[in-house]
Amino acid sequence: MIPVAFDYEVAESVDHAIELLGQYGDESKLLAGGHSLIPIMRLRLAAPAVLIDLGKLENLRYVRDGGDHLKIGAMTRHRDLAFNEMVAQHCGIVGYTAGLLGDPSVQHRGTIGGTLSHGDASGDMPSVITALEGSIVVQGPNGERVVKAADFFQDYLVTDLGEQEVVTEVRVPKLNGNTGWSYKKFSRRSQDWAMVGVAAVVERSNGSIGSARIALTAMGATPLRATSVEQALSGAPRDAVAEAAQSADEGTSPASDSAASAEFRRHLARVWTKRAVEEALSR
C-alpha cells in the first residue's frame, strides 16, 4: 500500500496536458479523480514515473445542452452528475448510475472522464454510455475526434485513447418521453463494483416494445451489448421479456473470481436483464 516514488506535474490546460504527455511519454499517466489510479499505484501494480494532474481543469467540469444530446465535461465528478437537474431530466440513467459508484467519497473525487478512460469492464458508466450509444470526445496533438462508445472500449483496461490523447467530453442522447431506462447493479455491498450490471434503454411503442438497447457490465473484457435480447425484444409485446432475457449471456465471457463464478454471472445477467427491461418499461 506504499507506492513507488513519482514526480508530479499540474496541467494548466488541455493543451498543456497534451504537451506534458508528449514530454514524458509512456512513463507518465494522467491523474483525474485518482480513484482508480492511486489504488493500483499503492498496490504497486502501476508505477508511473510522472503524474500529470488534470485536477485544476475546472473548464472540463460541466453539463451543457447540445440540442438532441447532453455534453458532459470529462472532469465532471460522479457526484455532480448524481445531483444535476439537466441530467435528471434528459438522461436520468447517467445521474442515477453516478450515484451508485462506490461511496460518497469516491463520487466526490471520481470523474466521468476517468472512469471511461480507465476502461474497466466492471465499471458501471462504460456500459451505461454503451447502452445509450453515446460518444467520447478525445483531444490530441492533431486536434479533436469523436469516438462512438462501441469503438472506444477495446479490451480489458484498453481503450481507443492514443498515448498523447486526453478525453475532454462525453456526449449522451436526450431520452424522449417514450423511452424508459434502468441500470441494475448486482453487488454484495452497496459500495462494491458490480458483480454484474445491466443497463437498459427501452423505447415503448403502442403498448409494446419498440426497441431495446442493453449493455452488460462485468460480463467480458469490455461492456457488451446483449444483442440477441435486443433483437428478440424489437417490436415484441411486453410479456416477451422473461423469455427474451434468457439469452442475455449469449456471446459473453465472464470471469470467475472470488466474488462469483462465470456460471453465476451468466445466471445473474439473465435475471438482471429481465428485471432491468421490466423496470425500464415501467419508468
Binding site: 500500500m1 498496490l43 448486482f186 452497496s190 462494491d192 470467475s256 473470481d257 462469483a260
Partner: protein
C-alpha cells in the same frame, strides 16, 4: 465543589472519549514522532512454503537513506524466546519456535525473512526490492483435513505431524459413532482445567435417542480488521535503562511480560504505552514479531524505530480469527428433550502459535451445550498446523464457534421433529436461577432467565404475523421468501478467576487492578489496569467512581494504558473489563469512602459508627447539619495536619480483584431475512436482540457494543470470509475483495434488555462486548435455512454469499452446478479455497 446526589450508573452519559476522536485530536501510535526515529519495512514471503536457498541484503544497504538491513541469522541471539505462545492446552502440545525473522524456511504468505531500516517508510519499502532471495517452493498444506492425512507435507518437520495438540473431555465412546481416523499419536492430551469437563456416556445417549442430528459446520477464517492497523514505536529513551514501546495494543501489561520473555530484557526495564488505540477485536491481544524486531533494532541502533503495517500486511500478517471444522452429533427424544451432545473439532492454528492460538477453541469448549440443560457431553479438539497466517482471538474467541454449532443443531432438531424452533429451545432451557448452576460441561453458569429474553424477543418480532407472512409468500411462490431465525445464547465473560484460567492452559492471572485517589483539590484519579481501545472505560469507570464517591464523572480522570502509570494490570479482552476491572474500581472507591469515614468522624468529633455517607457528604447520624464533604475530607487527608492517630495521609486506595467466577450474559436474537431465490441475495429486514448483561452502567455504550458486535456477527454470516487459493495465496487481500459490510448492508437493530444480576460481583454486571458476534451468526443462517427449507435445504455455509445461496437452491432443485469443485475443497477447510482468477 459540585455536589452530586445523582446516580450516574445506568445513565447514558455521552462518552468522554468521543470529542477527541471525532475531531481528529486522538494520539495514535503513528502520530508519535521521536527525534532520530527510523522506519522499518518487512520483506515478506510470496510463498506459503519454501526453503530459502539464498538471501542477500547487501543491495538494500547501498540505497540512499537505508540505515540497516537484517536477516534472521544476524539477530537470532536477540530473541531467545522467539514470538512467545502463552497457552499450553495439552501436555503433548507441539509448540514450534517462532522466529521473528525466519532463517531457513518460510511457512505462510507474509512470513518475514528480512527487514530494512531507513530514514523514512518509503525508502525502507523501496529498498526491499533490492534484496535478493532465491526460494525453493515446496507444496504447502492449506486445509486441515489434508494436513492430517498420511504423507501430508509438514509445516514443522521436527514434529513429524501437523497435529499441534489433541484435547478431550468426556470422550468415552466418542469414536464409535464418529468415523474418526485411528490416532494413537497424541493420546490423552489431558483435560487440564477444573472448569471444562465432559460427562456422562454420550454413546449410550446416541443409541437411546429417537433422533440424532449429525452435522458438519465450518467456521471460516475471518479478518479482525481494526480501523487502525498495527503500529509500534520502540524507543531506548533516556531515563529508562531499557526500552519504551509504544504500541497499538489491547494489552500493554501482557506485552511487558511477554516482550521480556522473548528478548530477555528484564521486565523492569521495559515500559509499554498504549496510546489511543483504534480497535482490536482480539487482533491486538498479541506480541507480534514486528514489535520484537522494532525493539531489538531500537536497542541495537540506539535510536527509536517505528513500524506501521499497511492494510495488505494487516490482512496477511495480523492474526486471523475462527477457522474450525465442527462435527457435531445431537441426540434427542421425540419430545425435543436433548439426551446428549458430542463434538469433534479441527482448529486451524495456521503456521505458528501466537500468544493464545491453541487456547481459543479450548476456551469455548465448555460452551457447546449452550443454554440447554442435559446430561451427556463430550468433546475432542485437534489443533492443526497449516501453511496459512496464524489464528488467534477474534471477538468472541471460541464462543461464537460453540454457539453457532449448538444453535444450528437446535434448528435442525426442530425441523426434524417438525417443532417450532422457539419451542424446542424452551423445552431444553435451564429454569431461571440466580445461584451458580452447572452446565453439562461442568461450567458454573451464574444466573439465567432465558424464558424472559425469548418471550420478549418473540413479542418484539411479532412472531405470529411473520409466520403468517412467510406462509403467504410460500403459497404464492413469491421469488422473495421470508425466513425467521433464532439464536438463544450464553457466553463466558469476565475473564477470569485466576485458577480457572490456569485450568484453561493460560497460566492464571485473571485479576484486575485499580487505584482510586483523591487529590488535594477534591478531584479524583482512577488508574485502571484495563486497556480500553474503543470501549469507553474512561466514561464507565468515571460513572462508577462518581457514584461511589458522590462526585460527578467530570471530577474523575481515568488513567490507563501505560505500565509506568498503572504498574499492574491484565488489560482488555474477553469482555472482562467491567466485570473484573470495573469491580476493582468499585472496591477501591469504596475503600476510599471507608477511610474517609474515619477522617470525617475525627473532623466531626463523632464516632465512626455514627457517620453516614451519601451524595458526597459525610454526616453524623441524627444530626445532618454536622457534615463534611468528601472533598473536605480529601483535602484534610492530603494535608495530613490533623488526622486520626497513626493514619496514613491521602485518600489513595488500591484493589487487586480476582473474581470468584466468570459471568454469563445471555440473550435471544431473532433475525428476519428476505431471500431472493432468483439471485441468492439475502436482505436482512429486521434484527431483534434481547440481551441480558446484568445491570447496565452506560446504556449508550452497551447499545454501541451490541451494534458493532451484531455487525461483525452478521458479517461472518453473510459477507466476510478469508479465501486462499490452493497455493496458499491470500485472495481476499484487500478491502475490495474482503467483504466488510457497511451501514447500508445492515438492518435497523431492535434492541431490548432484561436485567438478571450476576451473583458473582457486587454490581451484578456481566459483560457485553462479544454478545453480538456470538448471537448473530446462527440467527442469520437459521433465518436463511428457514426461508429455504421448503426446498429441502438444510444448511448453508458461512458466509452465505449470493452465489452460495443460489447454488444451494440449484442443487436442491436437482440442477447441476459447475462449481462443485469449489464446494468440495471448501468442505475440507475452515478457509475457503478457490481457484484464483
Amino acid at each position: 465543589m459540585t455536589q452530586a446526589p445523582e446516580r450516574y450508573m445506568g445513565g447514558g452519559l455521552p462518552r468522554k472519549e468521543d470529542p477527541n476522536l471525532v475531531t481528529g485530536r486522538a494520539n495514535w501510535t503513528d502520530n508519535i514522532k521521536l527525534p532520530g526515529m527510523l522506519h522499518l519495512a518487512m520483506l515478506r514471503s510470496p510463498f506459503a512454503r519454501a526453503k530459502i536457498t539464498k538471501l542477500d541484503v547487501s543491495g538494500a544497504l547501498e540505497r540512499p537513506g537505508v540505515v540497516g538491513a537484517f536477516t534472521g541469522a544476524e539477530l537470532a541471539d536477540q530473541w531467545p524466546g522467539g514470538v512467545p505462545c502463552g497457552a499450553v492446552v495439552s501436555d503433548q502440545q507441539n509448540s514450534p519456535f517462532f522466529s521473528p525473522i525466519v532463517t531457513d524456511e518460510v511457512r505462510h504468505v507474509g512470513d518475514v525473512l528480512a527487514v530494512v531500516v531507513a530514514s523514512d517508510r518509503y525508502t525502507a519499502q523501496d529498498a526491499l526490492e533490492s534484496i535478493v532471495v532465491d526460494y525453493e517452493p515446496l507444496p504447502p498444506v492449506v486445509n486441515m483435513e489434508a494436513a492430517l492425512a498420511e504423507g501430508a507435507p509438514l509445516v514443522h518437520e521436527e514434529f513429524g505431524t501437523n497435529e499441534c495438540f489433541k484435547y478431550t473431555a468426556g470422550v468415552e465412546g466418542i469414536d464409535d459413532l464418529f468415523d474418526a481416523p485411528d490416532d494413537t499419536q497424541l493420546e490423552g492430551g489431558g483435560v487440564r482445567g477444573p472448569n471444562v469437563g465432559g460427562q456422562g456416556d454420550t454413546g449410550e445417549a446416541m443409541r437411546r435417542a429417537d433422533v440424532v442430528i449429525k452435522e458438519r459446520y465450518i467456521q471460516q477464517r475471518v479478518l479482525p480488521t481494526a480501523i487502525e492497523p498495527r503500529a509500534v514505536v520502540a524507543s531506548p529513551e533516556p531515563g529508562h535503562q531499557g526500552i519504551v514501546m509504544y504500541s497499538s495494543t489491547q494489552v500493554p501489561h501482557l506485552l511487558k511480560i511477554v516482550l521480556s520473555l522473548s528478548t530477555g530484557i528484564p521486565e523492569n526495564e521495559i515500559r509499554v504505552v498504549a496510546p489511543d488505540v483504534g480497535g482490536g477485536f482480539g487482533s491486538k491481544l498479541n506480541l507480534y514479531r514486528e514489535e520484537i524486531i522494532a525493539v531489538v533494532l531500537a536497542k541495537k541502533l540506539g535510536t527509536p524505530v517505528k513500524y506501521v503495517e499497511d492494510r495488505s500486511e494487516n490482512y496477511q500478517a495480523t492474526i486471523h480469527g475462527r477457522g474450525q471444522i465442527q462435527d457435531i452429533e445431537l441426540a434427542a427424544n421425540s419430545d425435543g428433550k436433548i439426551l446428549g451432545l458430542r463434538v469433534k473439532l479441527l482448529d486451524d492454528m495456521g503456521a505458528y502459535l501466537q500468544l493464545l492460538t491453541p487456547a481459543i477453541a479450548v476456551s469455548g469448549a465448555a460452551l457447546f451445550p449452550g443454554v440447554y440443560n442435559f446430561e451427556n457431553f463430550a468433546i475432542e479438539i485437534k489443533g492443526v498446523f497449516t501453511n496459512l497466517t496464524p489464528t488467534d482471538a477474534y471477538r468472541g474467541a471460541g464462543r461464537p464457534e460453540a454457539c453457532f454449532a449448538i444453535e444450528r443443531a437446535m434448528d435442525s432438531l426442530a425441523r426434524e421433529l417438525n417443532m417450532d424452533p422457539a419451542e424446542v429451545r424452551r423445552r431444553n432451557f435451564f429454569e431461571p436461577f440466580d445461584e451458580p448452576t452447572a452446565n453439562p460441561a461442568g461450567l458454573q453458569y451464574d444466573s439465567f432467565n432465558l424464558q424472559a429474553v425469548l418471550d420478549r424477543a418473540i413479542e418484539l418480532a411479532d412472531y405470529e404475523s411473520l409466520r403468517a407472512e412467510q406462509q403467504r409468500r410460500r403459497e404464492s411462490g413469491d421469488p422473495v421468501q421470508l425466513g425467521i431465525g433464532f439464536s438463544t445464547y450464553t457466553e463466558i465473560c469476565g475473564l477470569g478467576p485466576s485458577q480457572a484460567l490456569a485450568g484453561l492452559g493460560l497460566g492464571g492471572g485473571g485479576w484486575e487492578a485499580a487505584n482510586v485517589r483523591m487529590l488535594v483539590t477534591g478531584k479524583v484519579e482512577v488508574a485502571t489496569g484495563t486497556s480500553p481501545h474503543g470501549q469507553g472505560h474512561e466514561t464507565s469507570w468515571s460513572q462508577i467512581a462518581a457514584d461511589v464517591l458522590g462526585v460527578t464523572p467530570d471530577d474523575v480522570d481515568v488513567i490507563h494504558g501505560d505500565t509506568d502509570a498503572v504498574p499492574f494490570g491484565r488489560d482488555t479482552y474477553g469482555s472482562r473489563s467491567l466485570a473484573v476491572g470495573g469491580i476493582a474500581v468499585y472496591h477501591a472507591a469504596n475503600k476510599v469512602v471507608e477511610k474517609g469515614k474515619k477522617i470525617a468522624a475525627h473532623m466531626l468529633e463523632a464516632s465512626e459508627e455514627d457517620i453516614e455517607f451519601e451524595g458526597g457528604r459525610f454526616s453524623v447520624a441524627g444530626s445532618p447539619d454536622q457534615n463534611v464533604t468528601i472533598q473536605d475530607v480529601a483535602g484534610a487527608a492530603y494535608l495530613a495536619a490533623d488526622l486520626p492517630e497513626g493514619m496514613e495521609p491521602v485518600l489513595n486506595e488500591s484493589m487487586i480483584y480476582d473474581p470468584p467466577n466468570f459471568t454469563f450474559p445471555f440473550g435471544a436474537h431473532i433475525c428476519v431475512s428476505e431471500v431472493d431465490t432468483e439471485t441468492g441475495k439475502v436482505k436482512l429486514r429486521d434484527y431483534i436482540a434481547v440481551d441480558d448483561c446484568g445491570p447496565v452502567i452506560n446504556p449508550t455504550i452497551v447499545d454501541g457494543q451490541l451494534h458493532g458486535g451484531l455487525a461483525q456477527g452478521i458479517a461472518q454470516a453473510l459477507y466476510e470470509g478469508v479465501i486462499y487459493d490452493e497455493e496458499g495465496n491470500l485472495v481476499t487481500a484487500s478491502m475490495v475483495d474482503y467483504m466488510i459490510p457497511g451501514a447500508p448492508e445492515l438492518p435497523n437493530f431492535t434492541l431490548d434488555r432484561t436485567v438478571t444480576p450476576s451473583p458473582s460481583n457486587p454490581l451484578g454486571v456481566k459483560g457485553v462486548g462479544e454478545a453480538g458476534t456470538i448471537g448473530a451468526p446462527p440467527a442469520v443462517i437459521n433465518s436463511i435455512v428457514d426461508a429455504l427449507s421448503p426446498l429441502g435445504i438444510k444448511h448453508i455455509d458461512m458466509p452465505a454469499s449470493p452465489m452460495r445461496v443460489w447454488k444451494a437452491i440449484q442443487n436442491a432443485q436437482g440442477k447441476q452446478s459447475g462449481d462443485r469443485q469449489i464446494d468440495a475443497s471448501l468442505e475440507a477447510s475452515g478457509a475457503d479455497i478457490k481457484q484464483g482468477r
